[in-house]
Amino acid sequence: SASQYDYEVYHSLEEIQSWMFEMNRTNPDLVDMFSVGKSYEGRPLYVLQLGKRSRPQKKAVWIDCGVHAREWIGPAFCQWFVKEALSSYKHDSVMRRLLNQLNFYIMPVFNVDGYHFSWTTDRFWRKTRSKNRKFHCRGVDANRNWKVKWCEEGASSHPCDDTYCGPYPESEPEVKAVAKFLRKHKKRVKAYISIHAYAQMLLYPYSYKYATIPNFNCVESAAQTAVSALYSAYGVKYRYGPASTTLYVTSGSSIDWAYRNGIPYTFAFELRDTGYFGFLLPESLINPTCTETMRAVKTIATGLLKKC
């Protein structure tokens, strides 16, 4: 049941999905659950909507986790966020204000097929599980498949590469479903956050070019405030900045697409660590990693309620 669910261990896709149903069942006034579509292998793409049902046109924040299957700390954070938001609504005035004034769309596992495969077959699988007509290799990098500068620098057109951009933009049903949802709700969604690992960075557009976004000052300030909040938990340092210069140039990424789609604040978190455990971050570090990231995400969301 919800109260016995262990948020400090990694969970399989089945466990996460039944947890989502339980969150939906036990929190009727703050949670809604829906599917934005089906994955390549036909699994539902579930999303939890968190927020007080006060008025229809509330601003919204989208958070997706598990775009890359092997980055297990991502889904762990999305579950942690839901747990924290619901459990602190009554006693934390900041969280209460956020849930009253914003809706949060939480997608704990974006790449459901890949995540399932990383639990059952290949622990270090990254891509989706779509088949390719000409090659035996499977999968597309779901963070190179968005319709923004698609398949240019920093993506590969070879189906066997880990950064394969796909046969065409939004070829992956998972990408197409989320893009469709965000296009439909673009007037209300004011922040897009995608959770990845590992590198300890907070990245914002552009990924595909060395240029400054028009609202740079507001986004830069939000990122700086977020990494300071993160640091305040356990003194862990995150670098922050435009993805192209802070990490490397990549095309077809979700944060660039969301930004170009009109969402003014789009971020990619690269959670712990910087390469001691890599993708194998132990379960003992789920708590501190999620606690510090929670502080960062709360400051980003709080910033949306102010004018910049």
């Binding site: 622990r123 990098d141 920093g154 990490l247 390469g275 194998l280 379960e283």
Partner: protein
């Protein structure tokens, strides 16, 4: 074992190419061994002064050690037995569950 013990003896190397020439050598070495790049995500993104984390199958471990040593490229092994780390990450819990 988890994953049918398929990662037994696999290792994760952290390579530090310090010059453009070493970057070229690392790209060439990794281009001839089937590796799983952890950071960055593709050979084309390897640059000097940025580390390269790469997962190598157990039967290619010795070969990679030899190549990097021959070219005097700085590196260390940060996971010496991947299977063990995987078991540690979730294996403990599943054995608890088995108990």
């Amino acid at each position: 074992y988890l994953y049918n013990n398929r990662y037994a003896g696999d290792q994760v190397f952290r390579i530090h190419p310090n010059t453009e020439e070493e970057v070229g050598r690392v790209k060439s070495i990794l281009g001839h061994i089937k590796v799983d790049l952890w950071q960055p995500n593709s050979l084309s993104m390897i640059t000097h002064n940025a580390t390269v984390d790469v997962h190598v199958k157990h039967n290619d471990v010795l070969r990679l050690h030899t190549c990097l040593k021959q070219d005097h490229i700085s590196y260390e092994v940060f996971i010496t037995n991947l299977q063990k780390e995987i078991e540690k990450q979730t294996g403990y819990r599943s054995s608890r569950r088995r108990r």
